[in-house]
């Protein structure tokens, strides 16, 4: 394995692509070739559709794919989190059954973690799994579930023991989303979009084989999934666009991406759209207003400083240096930028800020900014949780006192949800 170099890998993948890549193939057929050859996930183990190459060589492979326009494995959505979790914690049966169909795009996955009663406090999940007649019976409700309406499988965190402290009573299951006992309803957001779902389980069934690792291992495994989620956040965007080429594989990929990316259509707006500010100020004639100029400048200072802070963090990482505090503040900085962006767009837009849809400037984009930015300081860890993390892990301040970790979960006060 260690004899692989950039040059040998490049030559090998180039030859393989020359021999095999054909955009006239069906997408699944092509991706089965990727799964067979290992070139779709070169850093995965050879026994599971990979080639066991070191991670740093994957970009060499990706570059060769890009050079000939070859399509890669299916990546969009939650499926890669499922794959990474199964590779690390799944049984041989899980890997055999699921990994290939993840890579080919035949199966879509969703993540069944958050609940109405446990948001920031994810380990407080109260969806229950009870063993009855040799099957796990699932009852409860999940929320904020992207792609649940078209997913075949779900990564489920459920409570199997109510007498243990909260983190120890959770178990990780792979749940068949197509059964009747699973009901998926779209969750409409304040900005009209319905990017997420609510999922209701009424005696849903999980086969005992579909438990990941052991009873009570759920929190540990969920942590793996979440770690990959954080790490992969940047990667997702690279796969947003297909191409408009006419061959069959491209057409099928386009359809796949359109479905997978649909929930994220408004995501640019939730950032506060700093990129639009100067143009909008010029169009509205407010650019000469000294007050407006001050506010625009404040926004640009914040946004640029955040961008440069992220660059500092990335550079430190690339050089293998200990990341300083600059690495931990990106998410909070993004919240500040979004909030201020919202304010500045309102200032620039004036009375039109009361309008929405086609009556709002830029065909509704401005209105969408004004009602979408609250998402950024909540999704993926609220600002308040981020501040706790920074103060405890970066600044070394005392941890929050807890009264929920040292007693049976059934005795922990929790939400009574309707």
């Amino acid at each position: 394995m260690s004899e692989h170099t950039e040059d040998t890998v490049r030559a090998e993948v180039r030859a393989w692509l020359a021999e095999n890549w054909d955009p006239h193939l069906g997408l699944v057929e092509w991706r089965n070739k990727l799964a067979d050859s290992g070139w779709g996930m070169p850093n995965w183990p050879p026994e599971w559709h990979g080639r066991g190459l070191p991670s740093e060589l994957t970009r060499v492979v990706e570059a060769e794919f890009e050079a000939v326009g070859a399509i890669g494995v299916a990546r969009a959505g939650i499926r890669m989190l499922a794959a990474a979790t199964l590779l690390e914690h799944g049984s041989a049966m899980h890997k055999k059954k699921f990994l290939r169909r993840i890579l080919t795009g035949e199966d879509t996955w969703c993540q069944l973690f958050s609940e109405p009663g446990s948001g920031s406090d994810l380990a407080g999940a109260s969806t229950r799994a009870d063993m009855q007649n040799g099957k796990w019976i699932i009852n409860g409700q999940k929320v904020w579930t992207t792609s649940a309406h078209h997913a075949q499988w779900g990564l489920l965190l459920a409570r199997t023991d109510w007498d243990l402290p909260k983190h120890r009573g959770l178990t990780y299951f792979l749940l068949d989303m197509t059964q009747d006992a699973v009901e998926v309803q779209p969750l409409r957001q304040m900005n009209h979009h319905a990017s997420f779902n609510q999922v209701f389980f009424t005696d849903a069934v999980v086969d005992p084989d579909h438990m990941v690792e052991g009873l009570g291992d759920g929190w540990k495994i969920a942590t793996t999934t979440l770690m990959h989620e954080r790490r992969g956040a940047d990667g997702l965007r690279r796969w947003e666009m297909g191409t408009d080429r006419p061959e069959r594989a491209y057409v099928e990929e386009r359809e796949e991406l359109a479905t997978a990316m649909a929930p994220y259509k408004w995501y640019p707006q939730r950032t506060g759209r700093v990129d639009l500010v100067i143009q909008r100020a010029k169009e509205t004639g407010t650019y000469d207003d000294p007050t407006v100029r001050q506010e625009i400048a404040k926004l640009l200072i914040l946004a640029k400083s955040a961008e440069w802070t992220a660059r500092r963090a990335r550079e430190a990482q690339v050089q293998g240096r200990n990341q300083g505090p600059e690495g931990s503040i990106g998410k909070l900085a993004a919240s500040h930028v979004a909030r201020l962006g919202n304010q500045v767009h309102t200032l620039i837009t004036g009375a039109d800020a009361m309008l929405t849809g086609e009556d709002s400037p830029l065909g509704g984009v401005i209105a969408e900014i004004l009602v979408s930015t609250p998402a950024i300081s909540i999704a993926g860890g609220t600002d308040e949780i981020q501040r706790n993390i920074i103060s405890e892990r970066v600044l070394g301040m005392p941890k929050e006192p807890r009264n929920d970790t040292d007693r049976p979960f059934r005795d922990v006060p929790r939400n009574t949800i309707s």
């Binding site: 440069w308 802070t309 505090p325 503040i329 909070l332 005392p398």
Partner: protein
């Protein structure tokens, strides 16, 4: 554009930090700020001759080390952190830079080596009693007289103007306005007709002087009437350096406030264990780190000297102005009653933050400049 420091730069920083911890503890800051000169000759000798700090960004042709603004910014960041009392910003960042940008070749060879060696200290006198940081505020006149020029008028807010051996002064040809007719002059501090008075400054670690010129003879630097561009460049570069000095001070304050919160007991627990204190500390970290990124970027942009630099310099100064002052306000608050006392050191940085907020232009001023200079 680099977003990280080299090993050499990091080593330079740690050498400097050790030096300043030794030479500029707050007891020493308090002693020097009570003196009129405001600095210690022995420390100045040591930082010039042992560490070569006065030569950092001066080109080798003129007795300097030929490093760039990134290195100069590291030096002033550490000085800001330690609240060093020394005429460094005045002589090196302002006056030497003005000479580099504005003087002709022979004049640079004459003036810069002594400044680079730390043998003489210079000051840049450009602001007047109207407190304007741009050229529109310049009313001092320069009229040709014999071999030189006769200078008449008053300069104020001149950093270390009362102790400098040489004054670089901005004046205009009578009858001109704005950027036109401006020239730089070099004046010996003991020139006849020059009256210097130390102003009472809120921040006693930063000495300001009022300089009255009554028919003082000065030597023209560079081209007659051509000072506007070199001065503007000097101010941009100085503003980028000041932003770095400020984030150094802000970080010191942030760390002191955190240390205090971790130690101070109330209600049977450290105040650091209260969530309100944790969140405030996290916010302070973010504010300081964002301002640091902008200040570092500005220093690197000063070395690249591309078209975007002047906007970036103003961006960094506006950001640092808000961050430093806000950090100082929080730091006093976290210290509680003790933070409002004279004996507590927080007040020293608070006052430096206050003077830095305004010095070379406040946040509003630089936000407007930044927008004028912004390139999409």
């Amino acid at each position: 554009m680099s977003f990280s420091f080299t090993d050499e730069q990091m080593e330079f920083r740690s050498v400097l930090r050790r030096f300043l911890a030794d030479k500029s503890p707050t007891a020493e800051v308090r002693r020097l700020m009570e003196t009129d000169d405001g600095y210690d000759c022995e420390v100045w000798r040591s930082l010039s001759q042992d560490l070569g700090l006065t030569a950092i960004h001066i080109p080798e042709d003129y007795g300097g080390q030929g490093f760039g603004f990134v290195e100069l910014a590291i030096a002033v960041e550490e000085m800001g952190r330690a609240l060093l009392c020394a005429p460094y910003f005045s002589s090196i960042v302002l006056a030497a830079t003005a000479i580099i940008n504005g003087a002709d070749e022979a004049q640079k060879r004459e003036l810069l080596p002594a400044i680079a060696a730390g043998d003489i200290r210079a000051a840049l006198a450009f602001t007047e009693e109207n407190g304007r940081w741009d050229t529109s505020g310049v009313t001092m006149t320069a009229t040709p007289s014999g071999d030189g020029h006769e200078l008449n008028g008053i300069k104020s807010f001149v950093l270390d103007g009362h102790t400098a051996e040489r004054i670089i002064v901005l004046a205009r040809q009578p009858g001109t306005a704005g950027d036109a007719g401006l020239s730089l002059f070099s004046v010996a501090a003991d020139a006849a007709g020059l009256e210097r008075r130390l102003l009472q400054s809120t921040d006693a670690t930063r000495k300001l002087a009022r300089l009255e010129f009554k028919a003082v003879t000065g030597t023209l630097l560079g081209e007659a009437g051509g000072a506007a561009a070199p001065l503007a460049k000097t101010l941009d570069q100085a503003v980028a350096c000041l932003a770095n000095e400020m984030v150094g001070g802000a970080e010191a304050l942030r760390e002191q406030a955190l240390d205090y919160a971790q130690m101070r007991m109330q209600f049977g627990r450290t105040i650091a264990s209260f969530q309100t204190m944790k969140h405030k500390s996290a916010d302070m970290l973010i504010e300081v780190e964002l301002a640091k990124s902008a200040a570092y970027y500005a220093a690197a942009a000063a070395d690249d000297d591309d078209g975007a630099f002047s906007a970036v310099a103003s961006l960094a100064k506006a950001g640092a102005s808000e961050a430093y002052m806000q950090t100082a306000i929080h730091a006093i608050q976290i210290h509680g009653g003790i933070g409002f006392t004279w004996d507590n050191d927080t007040q020293l940085w608070f006052k430096r933050a206050k003077s830095s907020q305004v010095f070379l232009g406040d946040a509003n001023y630089h936000r407007e400049l930044m927008i004028q200079r912004w390139q999409d």
